[in-house]
């Protein structure tokens, strides 16, 4: 136990300040909250995550959001295990045909008002895989998308900025 405490003390705090959100950043993120969100959720965002066909690169970077450098939870943004508990859906990957129904059902299970964030190039526009016999390409080809965070995969800063911007808009909206 002492060894562990000593290690923690030696390590100290490595958490970094969040990226700043400005209008230009919102613009470049392509923030398109199409529907006015008429209910305020409070200063927290519960996300349900779904991989609809990705190569797993995006998941690695979504995981990185939990590491002590980013520590996303300090902003009230957290991942929940059930879509019933979620405010928004975070989707990665081009949507494979085999995940179409699962994605649609997960989206339906989230209580309204809800919004969808497409994370990663594939989710935004199909990326390297595009539309094929096995893939629908962009997430918006299957469920409506409000926010797009491009990148292959998006860096944790990009994901963080996108998520904070969503939170920001939601509270403002």
């Amino acid at each position: 136990m002492l060894r562990i405490l000593a290690h923690i003390l030696r390590t100290g705090i490595v958490t970094e300040p969040p990226p700043t959100i400005n209008d230009a950043a919102l613009e470049t993120l392509g923030l398109e909250l199409r529907r006015a969100i008429d209910v305020r959720f409070g200063r927290s965002l519960a996300l349900r995550f779904i991989d609809a066909g990705s190569c797993n690169g995006c998941e690695l970077e979504v995981h990185a959001l939990a590491n002590p450098y980013y520590d996303l939870e300090r902003f009230g943004v957290g991942f929940v295990a059930s879509p019933r508990h979620a405010d928004a859906l975070l989707v990665t990957g081009p949507v494979s045909r085999h995940m179409e129904t699962a994605l649609r059902r997960t989206w339906l299970a989230i209580p309204s008002p809800k919004f969808v964030i497409a994370a990663g190039q594939c989710a935004c526009d199909g990326g390297e895989f595009g539309v094929s016999y096995a893939s629908y390409g962009a997430v918006e080809n299957v469920v409506p998308v409000d926010v797009k965070i491009p990148g292959c995969p998006p860096r944790p800063e990009d994901l963080m900025l996108g998520l904070l911007a969503s939170l920001h808009s939601k509270i403002e909206g």
């Binding site: 797993n56 998941e59 990185a64 990957g93 995940m99 895989f129 094929s132």
Partner: protein, 526 residues
């Protein structure tokens, strides 16, 4: 022993079994033999009895013929076995009865090409769920068009899982959408009380048509696709694909590029092992290790981006070399990083290695015996933790490993703790290898232009990725474009091993067992 000294004896064995084997066009480093389609299964029996490791299979088709390939490895030598049948009656005997690892790859070939295995024990679909009609096979030459079923894809609800009967036996369905941030797949547990009687996996959810997307691409575009076969193994898959393409074009990849590729592959190994060691600890509630390794991994990835332009190292390899040179400042930074990481993981790994509450959950959990690991064809940390002493970097070395001494760490316990130990040892070994690569970094070019391959050229790439032996098969068409690409991720052998090692364990130990194996979904769904 010289390479392939065993081959004449193996050919005699085939002959004795009544199999006529003909020498075929080689795909260096592999030698090639062809047998009759009816003897495809029998040839596997002979190979199994001879002690070959079964390392993967795939199909290919043109307007007239269906062709199967499988790779058999003996002492690091790859033997490419093939068989051909007319396209109208693509019938072969199955290799599954002799190599259980062949089961899913044969079903994959059947689903995508319409290959008929006359004695395959499992008639169920694997990669094709319910998106396409029964007789539509996306890679069959007659079906180059788009899917004939454009409507919504029904859920794969009626997959007939093998039932387990008995008093108090119940089923637990899990997935395809999991509670955490992981890839989609379905697990069907049969349990009686807490112990798992049987686990059956249903994968294929992230099938995105990689093999057909590859057709018609040029080498650079294939490398980009290969980089996205499995996001965590981007270096391994790109390198394997590049090796396959480079082998047949006669390009001389500059020594500096090869050394940098080695460096990139080891960086990928370290990053993934760090992440997984922490994630395994986290799954049994030891958050301290998770936070510490996540911190180290983050710093590692930031340096990757700084030196090579990408946090996960995607698109850092290109056919003929690497995309970006390592500057002198980067080299110094990497050296300093290695020193710092060694200093940090010393005490950290000591704690993980000697922390009784952690041992309580990991020791003896999810044991994969050496016999099973061998029979299932496991390589990488999964095989090594179960005593399979094989590593391509040492046993069939390719540049730059041919000039390095690669220490291969194995363990005999085969449990989750052993898989953690092997990973920790591999991190340390990789740091040494990277230091050696930096010390002896050749100067010069970092890429050579790829000449046009000869018509109908074929190539096999073999790379020891962080997860184990990673293969890539490439066939060029007459214009130098890709006619066939098959990436064989080590996960094909990891998933069946997971089904085996969870038997008898309690359901709550499944997450940590799964994490310690960490098979790729995308890498096998293709």
């Amino acid at each position: 022993m010289t390479r392939f000294a065993w081959l004449p004896e193996f050919e005699t064995r085939l002959q004795t079994a009544g199999i006529a084997a003909h020498a075929e066009k080689e795909a260096p480093p592999a030698r090639a033999l062809r047998v009759a389609p009816a003897e495809w299964g029998l040839a596997a029996t002979v190979a199994a009895q001879y002690g070959c490791r079964w390392a993967g299979m795939w199909a290919e088709a043109d307007e007239a013929r269906m062709r199967l390939y499988c790779v058999l490895d003996y002492a690091g030598d790859p033997l490419l076995l093939s068989a051909e049948a007319p396209l109208e009656t693509p019938e072969f005997t199955s290799q599954t009865p002799h190599f259980p690892a062949a089961d899913r790859m044969e079903r994959h070939a059947r689903d995508l090409f319409g290959v008929i295995f006359t004695d395959h024990p499992d008639p169920r679909r694997w990669t094709r769920h319910r998106a396409w009609p029964e007789h539509w096979h996306p890679l069959h030459p007659d079906q180059a068009g788009d899917s004939p079923a454009p409507g919504r894809t029904p859920a794969d609800v009626d997959y007939p899982f093998a039932p387990v009967h008995g008093n108090g036996v119940f089923e637990i369905p899990v997935g395809p959408v999991h509670a955490g941030i992981i890839e989609p797949g379905h697990f069907r547990f049969h349990a009686a009380g807490e112990p798992v009687l049987k686990l059956e996996e249903r994968l294929g959810y992230v099938h995105k048509g990689i093999e057909r997307l590859a057709v018609g691409r040029d080498p650079a575009a294939l490398a980009r696709l290969a980089a996205r076969v499995s996001g965590d193994s981007t270096v391994a898959h790109t390198w394997a694909a590049c090796q396959a393409m480079e082998g047949v074009t006669g390009v001389e990849v500059p020594p500096r590029a090869l050394a940098l590729r080695g460096l990139l592959a080891e960086r990928e190994r370290v990053a993934n092992h760090l992440g997984d060691i922490g994630a395994i600890c986290n799954d049994v509630g030891f958050a301290f290790a998770h936070v510490q390794t996540a911190r180290l991994r983050e710093r590692w990835q930031r340096r990757s981006r700084e030196c090579f332009g990408h946090r996960l190292l995607m698109d850092t390899l290109i056919p003929g070399g690497v995309a970006r040179d390592l500057a002198a400042a980067g080299r110094d930074a990497l050296r300093a990083d290695h020193v710092a990481l060694r200093r940090e993981i010393g005490p950290l790994f000591d704690i993980i290695d000697d922390h009784p509450p952690l041992d309580d959950r990991l020791v003896g959990t999810g044991v994969l015996s050496r016999e099973h690991a061998r029979a299932l064809g496991c390589t990488g940390y999964l095989g090594k933790a179960s005593g399979c002493n094989f590593d391509l970097r040492r046993d069939a070395p390719y540049a730059p490993y041919d000039t390095l001494e690669v220490p291969v760490v194995t363990d005999s316990e085969g449990d989750t703790a052993a898989r953690v130990r092997v990973r920790m040892a591999e991190v340390l070994a990789s740091l040494d290898l990277m230091d050696q690569l930096l010390d002896a970094m050749p100067s010069g070019e970092t890429a050579a232009p790829l000449p046009t391959p000869p018509p109908d050229a074929i190539g096999l790439g073999r790379v020891e990725g962080w997860r184990g032996e990673t293969l890539a098969w490439v066939r060029f068409d007459d214009e130098g474009r890709i006619a066939r690409y098959f990436p064989r991720d080590p996960s094909w052998f990891y998933w069946p091993a997971l089904e085996r090692l969870i038997m008898g364990e309690i359901v709550p130990d499944f997450p940590v067992c799964n994490k310690s194996v960490n098979g790729s979904y995308s890498g096998v769904d293709l």
